[in-house]
Symmetry: D2
Subunit: 375 residues, 4 copies
């Protein structure tokens, strides 16, 4: 038997479909038959060579869902749920955390451990099928598997994709108080997830800024009480609207999921004095922004927090929320289209042009237009 | 014109209906026409003389809703919302906080300010109509008014009553993490509120222990995923059930709203290592309980937090949540019966016997059986 | 009898010495005979008209120490310590906090209450002797007095001045972990205080960046383990030194007390991933700075906190520390010179030119060169 | 060559001196020549069989200092400091933390990881020389080494012993605010360390309760401002004294390091409303205590935290503090006597009878009476 995978050979070069021999499952390892992976903004950046330290060639696709084909020495997930061959699972794309370094042991932020590596990004092809754009994913010892509950359609989970967990982490990091006004900048996968989780974690009001129209509709669907189109409103109009909604104060919490430096400038101006600003959308360097330390940081008594990466607990929590809230978290609706392994270049282009919000890579599928029906 | 009010002359003595002359509205003051007040467990304790320092005679009824009849020098509430004569409002029952003492200024917990007083509890009749069991409530300078939004039926708010804010405060104090398992002990007004807000503040699962059956049904209605009847289950059965649901660990957060010392003992045993236990149900002394400092505190690495009283921000947040979630927070369903001013003794007895969960005192009404229709 | 005070008539205009009739002490008020007040950087800004909303003419001098000449209705301070006529006291320069608004009640940050006013800054002369550059200071009802313990020479307290409390607040806001490396940017009064309190609040190492030489010597005296001269080192040299001291990671905590936008840029680069950056030096607008949201905020997983103003608890804590640590906190050494009321223009010029670090205004004194002897 | 070690064969049985063949140093391992280990209260409990799950026979001695004789594949410690053969080091006695379970990954409290094991306690003799009462200590792969700085005499570190880190952890967990009053219950090694670190982490006042006299003297030496002898004062006298010192409020923070259930009852009564109580002394079950949930937990608005175990960061921080503060942290003065390997039974009896506060086990030494001179 053989396995097909889409390989990204290097920046700017065509993606190629390759065939590999079936991997062997070593001790502590698992093999997954890929049900679906995704194309996210980071994959576009990878293709354009905007990330440093990527060991091309790679198989992209960091967050994925699959069915367990084989496991050796694994019987439960972190929550203690039994795992069996045939189960639908996902896994933490991050691996290799050392749990011995300063960041892991003293600072207690393994998300900044220098040993961390990521499936689909910093895993060279030479090490195996370590990315989701492949019919089979090879999980190395130590990779954290999580069972997807039966009540959670896997398209709902992968429809959120990596943004699901990043948005969850951003909301967690905001420590928002029940009843407060949360503004999310950006209506891509991270922003949509941040809205959905802010909505279900006690926000009293969720506002969203983004574009285009279909994404604003998704924002409303997933929890935003009010949306502002970047194209249809001026910065001043948005500011007036936010101030009016908050009796002149500004939002209690602003979550940046836009990835544009100018969003940081605008976001701080929409935040109330003493509010919390979470920067969670800048996974790539898109340039600098001028801030005023007096008015935007010191006098504002701001709490500004960067949120980098996700940890296993974010996946655990997000999946638990999907399980509990069911159809109230319809992330499958974020999926714009499913692409076969031979269509990933098209997927990359569609994501870049914002033609789709979430592009699925489905190794066994060739071409299914439109949002798929629920699982 | 004259005002009727139900007066509690002292412990164990009959409540008497008295008539007073209409109060005058001084500068910084407001007069409310009472729409509804409540009978809560504390009122039963007051009647039995179980609270120290109560300046009988008093007009009970600490949390109430009313319509503004007159105001002098008040034009907005704390959120900046305009207030007008005729508006439906509620108010923080606590007043007199000094904002100058150690607790207010250094410890930053005005809920422990020794100058605090409470409408309906520590407000002697000699000072005026400072309780809700009265046709008119006299709000002194400095009492915080809050507008009840039009989309929130006032019976929904007062159906939650003081427990609504206490439960809100307990959930806030738990700092629960999204997706975690929250167990609430007690299905009275505080417990029901704690469930409802845990449910909408990111709990991954809400469990409830209580009785009788109608309260367990309310628990399910308001957010509990699973309920345990105290009468129908043994302590050991509850423990086994909670451990099974949590892969043997126990709940991440337990909120005590039962008011029984034995609940504290059981609650700690149902809490996972390193979990958070909020004690919010012991507003009266009902005796001691034996705990083991080794196994229940030290080795458990517990975070145990008492929650005393409520602050204005809890009312603000709770009302915001009622506004946002609408029919998903049907606290009007908690109302067992409405009582006229001449029926408050019956109300006290019904509350004590758990015949009703929330008893309303409606000054203008004589006798309306059964749960009232929504506003 | 009459009272002399130095009045600042408006931006850029000469300070004039004026004589006023002796004020009367109303109920809840106190009159202090000024022992010493100070000239801080904000006073220089006031003179140059760099602060908005200042109701000139004013009597400057926000933090002061005095002896109680008269009190009406005041008998203890916030800690419960008895207060008597003749006691040496200081007071919180901030007054008028409303404890009713959103910032006070919901956000719990009275330091952002819009009603706040400040002695010596936003107190117009028309309201009385509300500034420290006066032989007598008139404390209005509600102003918080604090007894200066007998073991604390008042020159030690006023030698720290307003910077003492601002630095204390900045350290509190940093939540520094015991044993961590703290870098303070700026060796003016705020920076020196931040070093001293970081030193005695568990820092494992305190680094300081500043100038000129005499201030670096004060930094060493007050707790800095190592100092870097801005003039004598390049930015790259400082970065190399900090990285070498921290095995390549950067400081765990950086406190900005420099007031220069460029310091914010440098500070973030000297901070380790996931470290905490407190911006506490930008009390005036000195322009903007360009930051990179990707590298300095998001990927760094930064915790950036503005610290605006001080509250009573900061004074309480700082005085408690002065009392406990005695000669280990020799802030009287920061005093460069004492100026009489007729010399405050000279004081302003000396502060602006960094010729003195802390300039004292001593109403009863004409001219005493050099650092004064201890009280 | 051969290695001598003191073996505890089982509860209540005589300690025996045994000779073993020299261990081999495997990959990722290290061998230490023991400079000193300790006898702590837990060792007494071990000897009496009061801990469950101990795999006798064992070599006791969990915290130790030694000189690196051999290392394979280890070159730096967690702080990035170079490690070489001949260096004086200590190590985290806890090992085997899985970093995969719910406690490690979701709850983020590896101190409750069920896979944790401890040198000298849960390390059976059959697995090797895994305890400090041995001439050589065998560090298995994954055990965390820490370099002891040259400026820290090793007797200073081991004089604090395991209590040094436990006390450090208790202070960290208290989150004490600068200037606050901290009361420590217990003057054994944990209590003494808690005082010392509270003292240097910003406490405004440190109070100690304990006995006998020599320990109270050590308390004063290490940072307590005032001590109370359990024998010479009544509970009521202590309460009056604490209330008087705090203007009737009680201590802001109380740290329990006494190990007696009655201490918990007293401690809560000495704590102010809304204060923080850390339970850190109950490493063995010594029975229950009756608490009143109304007055001691709920109305007190208490923050009660158990602190179980220590993590690597606590060692890192404590050593950093020893390095910085030098002779101001003279833990070598806590050492009552040094015992040879053939004298450990006497050491156990001396510790149990409180004849010595810290008993050192020095494999190469036979009998040195009195406090040793500094290194």
């Amino acid at each position: 038997m053989s396995v097909r995978a889409a390989v990204m050979p290097g920046p700017g070069r065509p993606i190629r479909l390759q065939t590999f021999s079936d991997p062997e499952c070593g001790p502590g390892e698992a093999l997954l038959e890929t049900l679906a992976s995704e194309v996210c903004g980071t994959d576009v950046h990878l293709w354009h060579g905007r990330l440093a330290g990527v060991p091309y060639p790679i198989i992209p696709g960091h967050v994925s869902v699959g069915r367990v084909r084989e496991m050796r020495g694994i019987s439960t997930d972190v929550m203690g749920h039994a795992l069996s061959v045939g189960d639908v699972v996902t896994f933490l794309d991050v691996f290799g955390t050392c749990y011995r370094c300063f960041q892991c042991q003293v600072a207690r932020q393994p998300n900044r451990c220098p040993s961390r590596r990521v499936y689909g990004i910093t895993s060279p092809l030479s090490e195996g099928l370590m990315g989701g754009w492949s019919e089979v994913i090879h999980l190395r010892p130590g990779v954290h598997l999580l069972r997807v509950p039966e009540s959670v359609p896997y398209r709902r989970l992968i429809g959120g994709g990596c943004g699901l967990f990043t948005g969850f982490a951003a909301v967690e990091r905001s420590d928002l108080e029940m009843g407060s006004t949360v503004l999310v900048q950006g209506t891509g996968p991270v922003g949509l997830s941040a809205m959905a989780f802010a909505h279900l974690r006690g926000a009293g009001r969720v506002l969203a800024i983004g574009d285009p129209e279909d994404r604003l509709a998704l924002a409303s669907l997933l929890g935003a009480d009010q949306t502002f189109s970047l194209a249809a409103t001026s910065r001043e109009e948005r500011r007036e609207a936010v101030l009016e909604l908050t009796s002149g104060r500004g939002a209690d919490v602003v979550i940046e999921a836009a990835g544009q430096p100018s969003a940081v400038e605008e976001g701080l101006k929409l935040l109330r004095d003493g509010g919390t600003y979470v920067v969670a959308g800048h996974y790539t360097d898109t340039g600098g922004v001028e801030l005023n330390p007096h008015s935007e940081l010191n006098r504002k008594h701001v709490e500004l927090r960067g949120q980098w990466g996700t940890d296993l607990r974010h996946l655990v929590g997000a999946i638990r929320m999907l399980e509990r809230w069911g159809d109230a978290l319809p992330f499958e609706r974020v999926i714009g289209r499913e692409y076969g392994l031979d269509e990933v270049e098209e997927a990359l282009r569609d994501v870049e042009a914002l033609r789709v919000t979430k592009a699925l890579v489905v190794p066994g599928v060739r071409s299914v237009d439109g949002p798929p029906s629920s699982d």
